[in-house]
């Protein structure tokens, strides 16, 4: 399974939650599969989906799911100690780990070679870390929501992208409707 197939499968779970989605093709895929006002699409700023999600989870009570990638977590590896040491039980970091930089042409990442992001997360002090196969992502994500505990999910999947249109929505519109959805 590739990322877009996972997103299609978990879309019914994501629909009712606040989602911060990673830059590039992941946001384009989620936007095309199931655009919701509860989705915050990153149009730039590689690496910060987990940081934005944590800040949001610490600042209001609703569950927050950050959809990140292995390459983006590697870009902002300092995020994992910050997440571990400031736990928010309404926060789930879903790392779609396809071992490649998908938005830039599927160049391999170190997570697809020797580096285990789930072990890194554990070493950083994250207490609930679950590595799963692409096929089990929905089950693991639902269990994480039900657990009421901060969870880091590392979903191992195949490299590849679906061809989806670029998001042309204005960033202020994305932000404004997201904030209205948070308050609703």
């Amino acid at each position: 399974m590739i990322r877009s197939e996972i997103l299609k499968e978990i879309a019914p779970i994501l629909r009712d939650q606040l989602v911060v989605c990673n830059i590039g093709i992941p946001s384009q895929e989620l936007h095309a599969i199931d655009d919701q006002p509860t989705n915050f699409y990153m149009l730039g700023t590689m690496g910060l989906a987990s940081s934005i999600g944590l800040g949001l989870a610490l600042s209001q009570p609703k569950p927050v799911i950050s959809i990140d990638g292995d390459g983006s977590v590697l870009t902002n590896l300092g995020t994992l100690p910050t997440i571990a040491n400031n736990p928010a039980n309404n926060f789930i970091l879903l790392i779609v780990d396809n071992g490649s930089y998908g938005s830039t042409g599927d160049q391999p990442t170190y997570a697809g070679r020797k580096t285990s992001l789930s072990k890194v997360a554990e070493a950083c002090g994250c207490e609930r870390v679950i590595e799963c196969s692409a096929e089990n992502t929905g089950t693991v994500l639902q269990e994480a929501l039900d657990s009421g505990q901060m969870t880091i999910i590392v979903c191992k999947c195949e490299s590849g992208n679906a061809k989806m249109p670029v998001i042309t929505m204005d960033p202020v519109t994305i932000r404004d409707r997201f904030m209205s959805a948070i308050e609703a």
């Binding site: 915050f40 934005i52 944590l54 800040g55 610490l58 600042s59 902002n76 910050t82 400031n86 904030m179």
Partner: protein, 167 residues
Amino acid sequence: MQEDINKRIVDDFVANDVSFVTTVPCKQLAGVIDEIDARKEIRHIPSNKEDEGMGLCAGAFMGGKRPAIIMQNTAIGVTINTLATLTQFYRMPLPMLISYRGELGEPVACQVEMAVHTKSLLAQLHIPTYHFHHRDDVEELDKILKYTFMCNKPVAILTDASFWGGY
């Protein structure tokens, strides 16, 4: 006197409802950071890098909190992409309380290398920038915070060694 200025700064934060502060430390800002830790009105989340901190602040803002970042000017370079493509692109307010290392009284030569670029980088980004040099300059902080949350922009407050009373 030093304690007074730290308390004064954090009093202004609290009076302006700033309740989420992320920090990457600097020796000059240690007293402010201690004061922030002492206030129950403020959630303090230390970050490992300044752009990470700006991500935390973006999330906190969307979650209904007024955020601020405390950092050193040497890190302006690593935050440019985040300031342009997150904070400014999505029109979010962000007071940036910055220690302005490399100014008069600086003992470490390398600090000057980023000091000479600090104001021009901020100007290139069209970030409103205020420079606290004399102790009385702190009187403007309250207005600067109100201005930041009025216009939804990142705003820089550079605080140099003369303002802090030396090293």
